[in-house]
Amino acid sequence: MAGFDKRVADYAEALAGLKDGMSIVAGGFGLCGIPENLIARIHAMGVKGLTVISNNCGIDDFGLGILLKDRQIKKMIASYVGENAEFERQLLSGELDVELTPQGTLAEKIRAGGAGIPAFYTATGYGTPVGEGKEVREFNGRPHILEQSITADFAIVKGWKADWYGNVIYRHTAQNFNPAAATAGRITVVEVEELVPPGELDPDHIHTPSIYVDRVIQSRFEKRIERRTTRSA
């Protein structure tokens, strides 16, 4: 790699260094904006004992669900189990260590991790199981709990367009957790639909500045839709 050219040749290089027992923070909400090819590669690598931080865990046969099914994940930090039957089963049976985290707290923990804020107070979760064992402190006459931030060995991110330097923009609601995840990886890998030369993206409208990104790769995406809902004309 010369200078700021962060393009990698293939997915093997994109995820080089990922090992058993590591932590991975992933962008995406449901199946929207998930780094599906990076996940597929992690599946193919067969690494095990992973701690995965992601709002959801895909579905049974797509996204992070495929890692779950093959028991590559030891621990999940997520806000929503939803209709992922295998996730719920492994959680209820105790096979999987799960830290259910309110969605906004999860987003803020990841953002804070990337921003060098080790901990913050929030009213979210006070007086609920989420607050158990956490320090409670009053601010403005209201109890808040102390939440610690999250960083990970790898961040896997799905962008729309990136330049070779790793400046990234996201498309529509595929943005979601991706920009926060991009800041919180020791090594941040971004896969995009289109890789462009530096200078093609408007500097005023970069969602993820290049400084957070270590590797970028262009690929094709299935972009599966979880709940196709339409109106008639």
Partner: protein, 218 residues
């Protein structure tokens, strides 16, 4: 007669004010979008990162990159904005959303709400609900008044793990519209044809019945 899901959504719609930024949860709350009074404008926030949610797309408009918090495909209305999850919850946690409508398993007279798990049986996860109840200034819970076996869901104390403590002030059930005040459910309106006695028999938490309890009109 108990309200239909559509009537519940319609009744909640009457609480909307012109210029409100509103977050609608999954289920009945989602239907409220169909009952925004004609003379006002509201902007719907979807916590996955969309402010200004529009209708579902036409078949030709479906876009995998455009979904709502219920993972349904949606569109954006004119004047919408799209942003990251931390930004979305900055809005929510920071109290910028005017009104939140969400479902629940149980609420109680202290304003506690339980909506995300039944120990040993069911775990949906809290998603954004804990943030919404902690952050919104104004919350309306929509839920069935009682379970199918008749057991009340309006309790003196929630039995399930909580989503939030002391944060609920308004509840719309299929039988009634109630406000939570001073440790009691205050019965404000009845569903058409539903008697005070019936509501009383299905409300486990303390119920206060004012002299006048008007029937809802549809």
């Amino acid at each position: 007669m108990a309200l239909t899901r559509e009537q519940m959504a319609e009744r909640v719609g009457r609480e909307l004010r012109d210029g409100d930024y509103v977050n609608l949860g999954i289920g009945i709350p989602t239907l409220v979008a169909n009952y925004i009074p004609a003379n006002i404008e509201v902007m719907l926030q979807s916590e996955n990162g969309l402010l200004g949610m529009g209708p579902f797309p036409l078949d030709s408009e479906v876009d995998a990159d455009m979904i709502n918090a219920g993972k349904q495909t949606v569109t954006a209305r004119t004047g919408a904005s799209i942003f990251s999850s931390p930004e979305s919850f900055a809005m929510i946690r920071g109290g910028h959303v005017d009104l939140t409508v969400l479902g629940a398993f149980e609420v109680d007279v202290e304003g506690n709400i339980a909506s995300w798990m039944v120990p040993g049986k069911l775990v949906k996860g809290m998603g954004g609900a804990m943030d919404l109840v902690a952050g919104a200034n104004n919350i309306i819970v929509t839920m069935a008044h009682a379970a199918k076996n008749g057991e009340s869901k309006l309790l003196s104390r929630c039995t399930l793990p909580l989503t939030g403590r002391g944060c609920i002030r308004r509840v719309l059930t299929d039988l009634a519209y109630l406000e939570i005040e001073n440790g009691a459910f205050v019965l404000r309106e009845r569903a058409p044809g539903v008697t005070v006695d019936e509501i009383r028999s299905r409300t486990e938490g303390r119920l206060v019945v004012p002299a006048q309890v008007p029937e809802m009109k549809f």
